[in-house]
Symmetry: C2
Subunit: 412 residues, 2 copies
């Protein structure tokens, strides 16, 4: 008998029909002899609707109240799911994050897990019940309800799988797995059978929307094997592990992200401490800076460009403009008409041909590269937003990602 | 500075617009120097919608899961209300029933309060906040969420007013107060300025829908003065106290209830213990029997009739049919085409003319009386459902309830 934690996302439980389908799956899994713990997100677009209501009643809703409001979505879904499972003759009980033992800090709307004491969940399992846990929520030291943020149900599932010593953590979603590129952009995009934590981390950091990056980080830290799969086809999806699959080729996937903007701070002195001062100030304002490029300096003066989420453009501009006098900045510019296209894979650094081929492919398409950054398993290029989808398709073709990994040429 | 507990019902907080109106009222009340604790119900028809979803996913949802689901409605409303109040510059914080210290038994869907420890509410008040408490909910000894049942927010408000030693408990609703008859049926129905706990109890027990009877019972037990008033006109409504107002005439109101059915168990032996056996069995099946009439026996055989809520007709029938052999019953009949019309007032027993005039009034209208029951402050008659509204209008006219109490004739 295996113990498995299964997480179901919003579209998987969007209405009564879907809830009954998932309940049926759980009943079958139980009949097959497995013990199941469910983690559920809020139904469909419920979180958006709750946020809209909050903005209808208040211009600046306090975080504590937002968390009280929003976590109601997951709570509703888990109560309905527990009812539906019970109705099939399989005993089930719903638990809020607090009841499931998720203790968090007090950072409302983005709470971090401090400790998990899943006593009621283990007792329910011992009693033969299916525990159904509300995702993305916990309780703070002061007894207030806390929310982990959007996508936090994946985090709940991974953390619970670790705390319970589960055999597997399955992330059921509305896509069949992790793809070699966004299938809406590249028709030949290939579902990957397996991917490593590191690669998936780079992919989620550079535009792959599911699973949530924070959950992948947690899974990587604790070695919780994930299985990202479809709640609609119920077919096997993509397993995510620390191990390298023998079949894995150099390049795994192409991702793209159109949610960022490029900030350029011009005319700063090229001397020690300047960049540190700028990025410390940005970090203190909770701006998530991603790529950073500092131009070669001319006569001791240089430009620094970096990418930030579009929602943080104004905050970044305020920080940079606040440093005008101190750093001698002469202009702060924001450009949100950009996209980042990234190539993900193992052994990039030992295959310098990869970067070269990436740049050649983009050049052949007449696509200009505005910024470049690399990691051990990723190369990212910033291009005009209008060129992004063409770039993704060209790279997917060029690296033959539609071919099964074992059949791809080795090296470039 | 007064401390007041204000409860707002579902229609009072039906949407963002209404929530902002109530928040504005709270801000004004605070400016006037009062300390306010709010209790809110679920928005508009949310409870019905949640119940509909439950019936969409399960044929027999467990009570524990229903409570987890339904209490989310009040929780959502109180989070939104706290946001809206904060947005007006008045600090506010929402509390679930559990956070507000409502400890209950484990009778899911109809939990009873065992103890109230409103530590977080008193702390919030001391910190100058407006506590906003989710109505009709608490937590059981096992840490499960419990629901008091429909109309339970009134109970929360009264219990909290008592526990906090509040100066007043105001029940804001969608009507301007308590009326001498249902204004939809009697155009001349009069809003009562004051009514006693006992009279209001009889009224709610015989068809007056607001406030909820259980809350009136609790207010009477603890001497919590109520003020039932409109959340739309904000005008003074009806105060409910233990005291007798000097102006009060003999008859206060006419009520009617069309939600009951008449059960008749025929052919039972007229001997000691028979009625006890029947009504014990009904009580054990949680059937709420109201009026009971046992006919004069003929040759040691009699019929027993009683009224039950229409929703409990099948349960009552099953109980009665289960006793056929034991009690020698020869027929069990249900008639749901009835209504109960009641006259409420003080000193009925010392004014026998009241009953006589009631029966005469109905006779003049050609309305047949099928059952009669009386208490110290109420006379109820069961009539055909089709006659109910005509009976109410005739009684309201006959007892001149449209005239202010001080101007009414004394005695009949």
């Amino acid at each position: 008998m295996a113990l498995v934690v299964e997480k179901f996302g919003g579209t998987s439980v969007a209405g009564p029909e879907r809830i009954r389908v998932v309940a049926d799956h759980v009943a079958r899994r139980r009949s097959a002899g497995d013990a199941v713990v469910l983690v559920v997100s809020a139904m469909g677009s419920e979180t958006d609707e709750l946020l809209r209501m909050a903005s209808d009643v208040a211009s600046a809703p306090p975080g504590r109240e937002l968390d009280m409001l929003i976590t109601g979505g997951e709570r509703k879904a888990c109560a309905l799911m527990a009812m539906a499972i019970n109705d099939l003759g399989v005993p089930a009980a719903s638990f809020t994050g607090s009841q499931a033992g998720f203790h968090t800090d007090s950072s409302h709307t983005a709470a971090k897990i401090v400790e998990i004491t899943p006593k009621r969940v283990t007792e329910a399992l011992a009693d033969g019940l299916v525990p159904v846990v509300g995702g993305s929520q916990g309780v703070s030291v002061s007894g207030d309800v806390t929310f982990f943020g959007r996508g936090g149900s994946d985090t709940t599932a991974v953390a619970l799988a670790h705390a319970l010593g589960a055999d597997q953590c399955e992330i059921f979603t509305d896509v069949p797995g992790v793809f070699s590129a966004d299938p809406r952009v590249v028709a030949q995009a290939r579902r990957m059978d397996a991917v490593s934590f590191d690669e998936l981390l780079e992919m989620t950091a550079s535009g792959c929307p599911k699973p949530a990056m924070r959950a992948v980080e947690l899974a990587r830290t604790y070695g919780v094997e994930l299985h990202v799969r479809s709640a609609f086809s119920w077919m096997p999806g993509t397993t995510v592990t620390g191990a390298k699959a023998m079949e894995r080729a150099v390049i795994s996937a192409v991702t793209h992200n159109t949610g960022e903007a490029k900030m350029t701070v011009s005319g700063v002195a090229d001397k020690p401490g300047v960049a540190a001062r700028l990025f410390r100030a940005l970090a203190d304002s909770d701006v998530n800076v991603d790529m950073i490029v500092q131009n070669v300096s001319v006569q001791g003066i240089t430009d620094i460009s970096f990418t930030v989420p579009r929602s943080q453009v104004e905050a970044s501009r305020a920080v940079a403009e606040g440093l005008v006098a101190e750093l001698g900045v002469n202009a702060v510019a924001a450009d949100d008409d950009i996209a980042r296209v990234s190539l993900i894979g193992a052994g990039m650094q030992t295959n310098p041909g990869v970067a070269a081929r990436m740049f050649e492919t983009l050049a052949d398409e007449g696509i200009n590269i505005e910024m470049i950054s690399t990691s051990a398993i990723r190369i990212s290029c910033v291009v005009r937003a209008a060129d992004a989808e063409r770039a993704v398709a060209a790279l997917h073709r060029s690296f033959e990602l539609d071919v099964a990994p074992a059949q791809r040429p080795i090296g470039y």
